[in-house]
Symmetry: C2
Subunit: 124 residues, 2 copies
Amino acid sequence: MKTMKGVNFEKELAEVTEYWSPRVVGRVNDQYLKVAKCKGEFVWHKHDNEDELFLVVYGQLRIEFEDGAAVLEKGDFTVVPKNTLHKPVADEECGIVLIETITTLHTGDTVTSLTKTIDQQLSN
Amino acid sequence: MKTMKGVNFEKELAEVTEYWSPRVVGRVNDQYLKVAKCKGEFVWHKHDNEDELFLVVYGQLRIEFEDGAAVLEKGDFTVVPKNTLHKPVADEECGIVLIETITTLHTGDTVTSLTKTIDQQLSN
């Protein structure tokens, strides 16, 4: 009988060297789980057809919307509904988990120099 | 500009009074996020068409398979692939997050006295 360990978000985050560069660490059904380190401001963007979940592993993440903001502390999550313009901001470094449909591009309909393809996120 | 808080797994778990009784705390795309307190042995079951993710918030969860087991500590997750027979076991109380397709019955194809309908999980 073999014994397996689980995947640990903190350990996966420790391997990440670049900000705003998601790394796929798991998949459940049609959703990827990704870890990312964040610092500074990301770009305003939206995903036309997919929700996006943000869970904070350490630090604090603020997600700005057109009419307000969600402030996430360690252990908090929120879901940005599809077709909702948003901008993640981290005043200090934070570590997060993203859950999103396997086809979702993390910058949504806004392709910038920050955009990473799914292939990049899988080999990150 | 309004400021919103996130949903916190530990706080949601603090509201749970019954073991093995999942409570829906969020939804991303076609997946529910649920919290549950576990102690003792659940039933052997499988889900024919859906993967099921287990994330440990506190304590330790062991997921037994036909040919081994996954041992999850705080902050660890694993995904039980569809059509895989498994039995969650917690020697001491643990708090977990489940991520599974909105149509998934948590006892899979094994309906027992422990089975909670989705309506029960939403109003839990």
